[in-house]
Symmetry: C2
Subunit: 341 residues, 2 copies
């Protein structure tokens, strides 16, 4: 089980002291020296706890810069908190570092920590605990994020109502296109993208932006919400099934970035992939009709524009239909991107 | 990134519905359908959050039964909660299942879930959330456990005082011997162990028992505590360094099981390994002298006997010394077992 120590290799405690202790800026972390965080509960609050794992060559690419790996591991968890209407309170990082390889280098670990630091500062949160271990497998990061919201105000995916309007934040499909660009360097030219446009799509894949500032606006207006991590169609299905409803979405209303629109124009067959591709980390929300205008205005003011894409109807059958301008249903046999096949 | 689906292979949602949803007996889990748990905080409570990862062939053996893998993954986290004086409130499981291999089989996953179920029932807790993903690497389980205790009563490793007596729960070194037995089948005969004794040591390695019922007794009596996961000597050093103290331990007072005592008699050179070998998951506590008798009686009544092994003195230098009957210091150059080399 044990391997001979490599003198060049940093030990667990060196790694924690050097790279992670500086991220533990909140006293609840107990300085990362107590194998646990100590949170003071407030009875006016509810807490949301969520955990997500990202694994090299499954959720990110071997050549992705370490800053973006740290960013993504935290972002996918903060995205879950935002969808529940919760503001982040802190997070724990369980890091499994490969026995060998570049990820044990000082430069790589500095990059990883820097990606975490930048996003935690942007989101107003901090590292509060974790575990660092060696693995014979690929780099694996499991983050558990804890969020806070006023008691009874959690936004669940099961509480959407018939008649609600469906809104999506940001734009859809960029990350799926960014991943394709990283896998095939000829695509940017074929899609007629400028360098900046191609970079935008790749950045959307590598550095998803959790919609943390949408959390209080969701609490105020939304009946239900879900973060879109596995593809818009599949995640909308989940919301519909949890709420026992049917969704009808105008595919042409789904907001696309300039770059994604260009790619779609060059290759119209891409649209189904954008709607099912995953890694968007946008928020899909079910908003009562009389709240729709207020929701859109509040989101715009927070710098996070949202777009109405459809509405919810009574089931059965629970699920969603995407229709084109003529009202014909799009054929989306694969509803979502799964890392689990 | 994506692989062609294997029709024999269970999907993520099947696995959650079939094996893990039955463990989510607390409504805070939101039925595992919302990618998050919703906890209601109480202002009279503090919360402890801890996370630990176990990886195949690092923290457990490839041929360990799945029940014991589930047991161990949860036990190591509950042990951390117990050392803080916290009772478990719930836990999240991030499971990374190998692309191929027996661990994706129904029988194996049933075993894993059964090990979790047995321990969660014994400890009075439940699964409240998680994430299931495929990995090209070894089976990896990261559990995040959340515990609760009355506000201000957390037992930290940094608050031990000079003059405190050092107590250890249970017996030390069994798991390290159990691992050696699994690696070398001739050892049991060489150590003169009966089959039951050898099985006891192996079981201590595979199914560590978190000392959950010691939590309220620690809150009542202890200045400081730590769970012994990486070896008694190394973890005592951590407590000493966090509290700025020096420990003096009578090595002969460290409690050994009948089986471990037999092994030591057959091979006296084993003692240092027992004191540094790891995987004990016992609780080391610093108890003020005037509380020592009450602590021992309360622990005995809870069915968790504790043994006095030494005491704490002012530093410098912070750290610990193990002495033999003559008062001579034992030479323990390796202070703890590290999976991280």
């Amino acid at each position: 089980m044990s391997r001979p120590p490599d003198p060049e290799r940093l030990g667990e405690f060196d790694i924690i002291a050097r790279f992670f202790a500086p991220l533990a800026t909140d006293p609840v972390s107990l300085g990362l020296t107590d194998d646990a965080a100590l949170l003071h509960a407030e009875s006016r609050d509810d807490l949301i706890v969520t955990t997500d794992t990202v694994i090299e060559s499954v959720h990110f690419l071997e050549r992705d810069p370490p800053e973006t790996v740290g960013h993504k591991a935290l972002a996918v968890n903060l995205s879950d908190l935002a969808a529940k209407g919760a503001e982040p309170l802190g997070y724990l990082l369980a890091l499994s570092l490969p026995d060998q390889g570049k990820q044990s280098s000082t430069a790589w670990l500095e990059g990883l920590a820097s990606g975490l630091k930048q996003l935690q500062e942007q989101a107003g949160t901090a590292l509060i605990g974790g575990d660092t271990t060696a693995t014979p497998g690929p780099l694996t990061l499991t983050i558990t994020a804890i969020g806070r919201l006023p008691k009874g105000q959690a936004v669940l995916r099961s509480r959407a109502k018939a008649g609600d309007r469906l809104y999506i934040s940001g734009t859809i499909g960029d990350a799926a296109l960014g991943l394709r660009l990283l896998q095939d360097h000829d695509l940017a030219a074929r899609w007629g993208l400028s360098e900046a446009e191609a970079e935008h799509l790749v950045d959307r894949y590598r550095r998803p932006q959790p919609r943390t500032h949408l959390a209080p606006i969701l609490r105020h207006h939304a009946h239900g919400a879900i973060d879109v991590s596995d593809g818009l169609a599949g995640d909308l299905d989940k919301l519909c099934i949890a709420s026992g409803l049917r969704a009808r979405v105008q595919a042409g209303d789904v907001p696309l970035s300039v770059a994604a629109a260009k790619a779609c124009e060059a290759e119209p067959g891409l649209l189904p992939m954008l709607l099912t591709g995953g890694d968007d980390y946008e928020i899909l929300a079910a908003i009562p009709a009389d709240r729709a205008r207020g929701f859109a205005i509040d989101a715009e003011r927070a710098g996070l524009p949202v777009t109405e894409i459809g509405s919810l109807e009574p089931a059965p059958p629970a699920g969603s239909t995407f229709v084109d301008r003529s009202g014909a249903a799009l054929n989306l046999p694969v509803r979502s991107f799964s890392h689990f096949v």
